[in-house]
Amino acid sequence: MRIVHYVNQFYAGLGGEEAAGSGPRVLDGTVGPGRLLAQLLGDAHQIVATIVCGDDYAASTDAAAAELLEMTRDAGAELLVAGPAFGSGRYGLACARLVAAAQAAGLPALAAMHPDNPGLTEAGAAPVVAAGATSRQMRPTLQTVAAAIEKLATGATLTVADGRVARAARTGRLVEQRAAARAVELVLRRLAGERDLTEVPIGGFDVVAPSAPVEAAASATIALVTEGAVVPAGNPDRLESARATRWLRYPIEGIDSLASGEWESVDGGFATTAANADPNRVLPLDAARTLEREGTIGRLHNEFLVTVGNGTPVATARRFGVEWAAELRKAGVQAAILTAT
């Protein structure tokens, strides 16, 4: 099979974060992890081209997946392989969106990433095989990928036995006993010694290590971002008040303060009376402008990013976080103030 391989700027050797804003490009043959993958595949399959894109560009540009797919097709791909992205959020998102677009367009595609990668849910109908958490697992991960390619070449479907990440769906259903009765049952069984019984698995929460403090705030570009649903009055873009499916951006160039009546919070999760009397208390533009004038911060980023944090599924919230990080990096922002409600 003719394989086109997708990697990010880092694995293509173009650079780290400083090159994350670079756009799509095609390289002949194998690059970085593609070399080992080609070795593992032997002569039966060829990696004919490598498509590369910076993580920030890929994760924050709407048309990126379409652009990359077109390049993949032009390179004559019979199969697209993306990653492995390991635990990297932006890279995972880029891989997932690309393989989803390819699979939807009829081009077989395969991605590899860690099962906890926030991009996983974006892979659509394309198969994803499990990668380790970091590149230290490069070899075993590529062995899984190579075996998966061999199997796909036979026309077979990948299964969990092939390392495919099974997206275990928690499906709602009506049962005989109401929840209160099930709770009593569960308490009694736990008291009787079945200590680990639970209907919902517990644990498994992310721990986010804070970044180092900004070295020189006086020369840094700072962004304001919020999940407090601050939007222009009348909510022209119809941001949801709960269960957000998207986020928005609004320019604040030349604005010193969010005037009541011109801006409002449409958050359905708290009483917005005080917020709407002074929207700066949810998105502290007035205070940030003061710090900017005083020289405490270098510059305030010229737009703010906003969504509503009210009943948002964790998977969606993680995706927003990855997209915002890419967006802000691309814009040259060094730090962000995230206000939550």
Binding site: T121, A125, P127, T157, T159, V160, R164, A166, R167, A168, A169, R170, T171, G172, R173, L174, V175, E176, Q177, R178, A179, A180, A181, R182, A183, V184, L186, V187, L188, R190, L191, L197, T198, E199, V200, P201, I202, G203, G204, F205, S241, A242, R243, G268, G269, F270, A271, T273, G309, N310, G311, T312, P313, V314, A315, T316
Partner: protein
């Protein structure tokens, strides 16, 4: 703590009429009498409707729901609102089982929900299965929304008593004896002592729950007489997340208390109820959780079932309590609605305990297709679906009133299933 008898009168049909009466399981609601009960300067007008199981009717933007109950001419239900607090108790409470009174319509902090009287939403809400007296209302021009809300709440409670008063002399369908919880230190014959911890939402206007007519905000957890809860000591003024709401009706019929009573003396001893606020600051959450655990231990609980109201903030209260209880050597189980996204593949918990166990009350995000209905009350449009109120719509389970009942009233749960032909 007092014993209580529930005198049950089943309601099997409901209609509007000239004067309120109850006979042969039919409840007739006197329309002029209803109007008089809602006479308040804050309300310009009210309209009364009926919605019964099987009707092709949708109730948009439901507010509080109350079960009709009465203690007869001497009064006594809804202490702090209608009855005096700390009165001498009468032991009998008349219940119009199968009936409910509710208000529906726009209120600023009312997160829009719905009740369908037929179809899949009816199966998921306790109020798709009750004979409902529905109150639509118009606020008076010079009244604030807060004034209108208080008038509605008082009106609903008065209506609930008025309707049940009509059944006081009727022959009961059943009489249910409710024994008080077992005191700490009394012999249990080796059975574990299991109690309920009920978190009440306390986030200010339109997000508040009242105990004896006072907001629970700022209070420490307190041991509480379940007979008082039966008689309406806990009243809701909380209009957040419709599926995650605990209307007054569900406090009157507290599912966890009912299930603990059902097994009392068989495989457990019902140890009591602790009411807690859900404060909004982390330090207060920790204080309330630690204090609740201490109270349960001091009251001799071996285990507790912990419930909440709302989401986000409330999830943290729930989980901090589970952790505090387990750290104190008690066995804890929490009731929780999952937030795993429309396809159910995301992480189910937003906040979670380090130990303990969680019972699922369903997935907040799971979509449900609802057929068109013939009539709607409470509004002409369903804003969450951007559709006519009567239209066929697809909504998240989160929009169906009490479908994910944090008090455990519902029969929804979630199970893990492998997807995408992963095992094919």
């Amino acid at each position: 703590m007092s014993a209580l008898r529930r005198i049950i009168h089943d309601v099997r049909s409901l209609k509007l009429g000239n004067a309120t009466r109850y006979e042969q399981h039919q409840l007739v609601v006197g329309q002029d009498q209803v109007a008089a009960l809602f006479a308040d300067p804050a309300l310009a007008s009210v309209r009364v409707h009926t919605a019964v199981p099987g009707d092709r009717v949708r109730i948009i933007a439901p507010l509080d729901v109350v079960e009709p109950r009465s203690k007869g001419p001497g009064g006594g239900v809804f202490p702090g609102w209608i009855a005096r607090v700390n009165r001498k108790r009468g032991g009998d409470t008349h219940v119009l089982r199968g009936a409910a009174v509710l208000a529906a319509g726009y209120l600023p902090r009312n997160q829009e929900g719905l009740i369908d009287m037929s179809g899949p939403a009816a199966e998921r809400s306790p109020f798709g299965q009750t004979h409902n007296v529905v109150i639509e209302f118009d606020r008076a021009d010079d009244a604030s929304w807060q004034e209108a809300e208080v008038a509605l709440r008082r009106g609903l409670l008065a209506l609930a008593v008025h309707l049940a008063d009509a059944a006081v002399d009727a022959t009961p369908d059943a009489i249910e004896e409710l024994a008080p919880p077992h005191r700490a230190g009394t012999s249990t014959g080796g059975l574990p002592r299991v109690g309920a911890i009920t978190n009440l939402q306390t986030q200010g206007a339109f997000k508040d729950v009242f105990v004896y007519g006072r907001s629970m905000a700022g209070s420490l957890p307190t041991l509480f007489d379940p007979a008082e809860i039966e008689d309406g000591a806990v009243v809701s003024g909380q209009y957040g997340h419709p599926a995650l709401r605990n209307p007054t009706y569900l406090h009157q019929n507290h599912p966890v208390i009912a299930e603990l009573r059902a097994r009392d003396g068989q495989d457990l001893c019902f140890a009591g109820v602790v009411l807690c606020p859900e404060p909004v600051q982390q330090a207060d959450k920790e204080l309330v959780s630690t204090h609740a655990a201490w109270l349960c231990r001091t009251a001799g609980f071996d285990a507790a079932i912990v419930t909440k109201e709302g989401a986000g903030n409330a999830d943290n209260d729930l989980m901090l309590k589970v952790d505090a209880l387990e750290a104190d050597g008690l066995t804890a189980v929490a009731l929780y609605a999952e937030l795993s996204g429309a396809d159910g593949t995301g992480p189910p918990l937003v906040a979670g305990p380090r130990r303990g166990a969680v019972v699922s009350t369903g997935n907040y995000d799971q979509r449900v297709k609802l057929p068109a209905v013939e009539r709607a009350f409470g509004g002409t449009r369903l804003r969450i679906a951007d559709a006519e109120a009567t239209a066929a719509v697809e909504v998240p389970t989160a929009a169906i009133l009490c479908a994910l009942s944090p008090l455990g009233a519902g029969r929804l749960t979630c199970r893990s299933e492998q997807q995408l032909g992963a095992t094919a």
